[in-house]
């Protein structure tokens, strides 16, 4: 081979080509789990995202009305053909029992629409032929309102920002601008704020309680440190429900904590602890504490104690030596532990549901309620998207600051 031929070979490319089979072999080992998680984990979450913007009801139930509305100018009271189309659609809806679905969807945006739709659907069943305009107006003057028709027309699109906006207490006005919803309906910003506040409070408390524990773990003699480690890890292994059950019992009005407080004369009568913010935060702090302690401990363990000794021998007072030499080096562990606890706290469901009052329920609890109780899947998904985005933002910060997620240490 001449020098010219050798020079023509792109070495890095050739190396990469030579590595191809090995890379493929390595990847193919991970492929089953990747494929599994795609189907069972990623796709369901993407499905949740589409549910948050899906808007099938009006499209399905009122196809003819939507066609008739295409030429509507959006201002004047609608004319006869639109009402006739609505009558035909509603009669079909009554047959397929989809009128309730439509009523529920429109009711999200204009309260009272559910009953108006259902009454109208029953009316068109009785009245065989048109004209229908007067009959609709006879049932409710609202059928002449441009607002109602604007909402129906707008809800005819396949996707809607409605649920995502609602999850942030926003709504589309009739002129399609975005504004805040009425004060009495604006609850979700409050719930999000509360979720962040509780998560931050729990994170702070676990740091205050956990940092000294991590430190003592590093200075304790081997045997004692092992016992302490056991006491940190055992709660982590104990069923979440066992821990929550314990707190439900401890916090009860005639429970153990009240007994102790009374016998120590710290309080003169029983205090309400369960179903309060104090109870929720206490239980959550207890559950999250090991998640904060362990990363801090694993960083502290790698800090050489001779550094502190050196600082002291050079004349630093004890506190200064600690603050200026030791504490800054523990920061990676503190950041990792706190972000982990914060991320996990954002998604709490069980503990607030069992220990918290109605003012302590977090985003997760409302998502579950919208799925199970109100059957409002769109809003549940909208809130889910907001929670997911918030969590991922913190997670990205975690990856930036800490490195890989695989650096998480649980014992």
């Amino acid at each position: 081979m001449t020098a010219a031929v050798i020079a023509n070979i792109d070495v890095s490319k050739a190396v990469r080509r030579a590595e191809q089979p090995a890379r493929r072999a390595a990847l193919s080992l991970a492929l089953p789990l990747i494929a599994f998680l795609m189907i069972v984990f990623v796709v369901p979450i993407l499905y949740l995202l589409t549910t948050a913007v899906a808007n099938p009801e009006v499209r399905q139930v009122l196809p003819r009305t939507l066609v008739a509305l295409e030429s509507w100018d959006g201002v004047s009271v609608s004319d006869e053909p639109i009402y006739d189309a609505l009558a035909v659609d509603l009669r079909a809806a009554q047959n397929d029992s989809t009128a309730a679905l439509l009523g529920k969807r429109l009711n999200y945006e204009i309260s009272g629409m559910r009953s108006r739709v259902l009454t109208a659907a029953r009316m068109v069943e009785r009245v065989e032929s048109g004209p229908y305009k007067e009959r609709f107006l006879g049932l409710s003057k609202d059928w002449a309102s441009p607002a109602v028709w604007t909402i129906i027309k707008r809800s005819g699109s396949a996707f809607t920002p409605y649920y995502l906006l609602r999850a942030l207490d926003l709504q589309q006005n009739l002129d399609a601008s975005v504004g805040r919803v009425a004060g009495d309906q604006a609850v979700f910003v409050d719930i999000l704020g509360r979720t962040f506040y509780i998560a931050a409070l729990v994170t702070l408390l676990t740091l205050i309680l956990g940092y000294p524990v991590a430190y003592v773990l590093t200075i304790a003699p081997r045997g004692i440190a092992a016992v302490m480690m056991l006491m940190v890890l055992l709660p982590l292994w104990t069923s979440l429900l066992v821990r929550t059950t314990a707190w439900v019992v401890l916090l009860q009005s005639n429970g153990v904590i009240n007994d102790v407080l009374l016998s120590l004369h710290l309080v003169s009568e029983k205090v309400q602890l369960i179903f309060t913010r104090v109870g929720t935060v206490t239980a959550m702090t207890h559950i999250q504490l090991p998640f904060t302690i362990l990363p801090i401990y694993s960083v502290m363990r790698s800090i050489s104690t001779t550094q502190l000794r050196a600082a002291r021998s050079l004349g630093a007072p004890p506190l200064a030596a600690f603050w200026r030499i030791y504490a800054p080096q523990t920061l990676p562990g503190v950041v990792a532990g706190c972000l982990m606890t914060f991320i996990l706290s954002l998604g709490y469901y069980i503990t607030p549901a069992l220990v918290g009052g109605s003012r302590d329920q977090m985003v997760s609890n409302f998502i579950a309620d919208f799925i199970n109780r109100d059957l409002n899947w769109g809003l549940a998904s909208g809130l889910g998207v907001v929670l997911l985005v918030a969590t991922l933002v913190v997670y990205v910060a975690f990856l930036r600051l800490v490195g890989g997620a695989d650096k998480i240490k649980l014992g």
Partner: protein, 272 residues
């Protein structure tokens, strides 16, 4: 108290304070776990300590109740199936990721770990809505699939940690001596990483056995798991039978914890 000899009095006092504080936090960590034990043996139907009179009536209640027994059976079957599936998939993935040639390691690791990060209620709702399309809600299959997704990351992390101390020369030696890749895996690699694989399996079992939120969404009465049964029990009217269930679960956790500690004893620097 654990201080170098040159320590001054001004150093000793804060140190004593820190140690006392840590001891108090330890008590806070551990005491709540064990208060369920005496209460479960109490004769009274209310929760006061110290217990006046001991009895096994709540255990009799627990073991005599078809609902609780059904829940235990469901939890066990679900957890065992989850363990098998998650351990197999997770170990394979860890083997791939640990190879030096693995492409886009950070990205794929982030994907494999993400079930630990995403709020479980989102996994639950997503599974509920999506699995519903295929008739998998209210089935054990659906629950096992969702639990496997939640448990697999723990297997990946545990086995990856073990593999980091595995000497790949062993694999190379076996292959060069003529062993097939499959028998190399089963006779050389697997035995050396077995503690990590079993630890991962224990994690997977514990996670499935303890999981509530997905189980709440994905199960009807017939597939109800133990945590779901406890959740509704606490929510409706908490009674000492739940204390008996909690005590038994605590015992199981301690057993799993001991097993894991014994497995990882030789590796003091193990993560997880």
């Amino acid at each position: 108290m654990w201080l170098p000899s040159y320590a001054t009095r001004a150093e000793r006092l804060p140190r004593i304070f820190v140690v006392a504080f840590a001891v108090a936090v330890m008590l806070f960590l551990i005491a709540p776990l064990f208060i369920v034990v005496p209460l479960s043996f109490s004769k009274d139907p209310f929760f006061t300590l110290p217990v006046q009179e001991y009895s096994l009536r709540w255990y009799a209640d627990f073991f005599g109740n078809a609902r609780w027994m059904n829940a235990i059976v469901n939890s066990t079957i679900t957890a065992v199936l989850t363990t098998v599936l998650a351990t197999t998939l997770g170990t394979l993935a860890a083997l791939g990721i640990s190879r030096p040639d693995f492409p886009a390691r950070r990205l794929i690791m982030a994907l494999l770990i993400s079930p630990m990060i995403v709020p479980v209620v989102i996994v639950a709702v997503g599974s509920y809505l999506f699995f519903g399309q295929f008739g998998l809600t209210n089935t054990r299959t659906g629950l096992v699939l969702a639990h496997t997704a939640l448990a697999a990351p723990f297997v990946v992390i545990t086995v990856t940690a073990t593999l980091s101390t595995y000497d790949t020369n062993l694999t190379r030696a076996a292959l060069s001596l003529g062993a097939s890749p499959l028998s190399t895996f089963f006779r050389v690699t697997l035995p050396s990483i077995l503690p990590g694989v079993v630890s991962g399996g224990i994690f997977a079992f514990a996670i499935s056995f303890d999981e509530v939120v997905v189980a709440l969404f994905m199960t009807a009465a017939e597939q109800r798991t133990l945590p779901v049964q406890m959740f509704s029990g606490i929510r409706d009217q908490i009674n000492p039978t739940i204390m008996a269930a909690a005590t038994l679960l605590l015992g199981l956790s301690i057993l799993l914890f001991i097993a894991l500690t014994l497995l990882t004893r030789q590796r003091p620097k193990s993560s997880m």
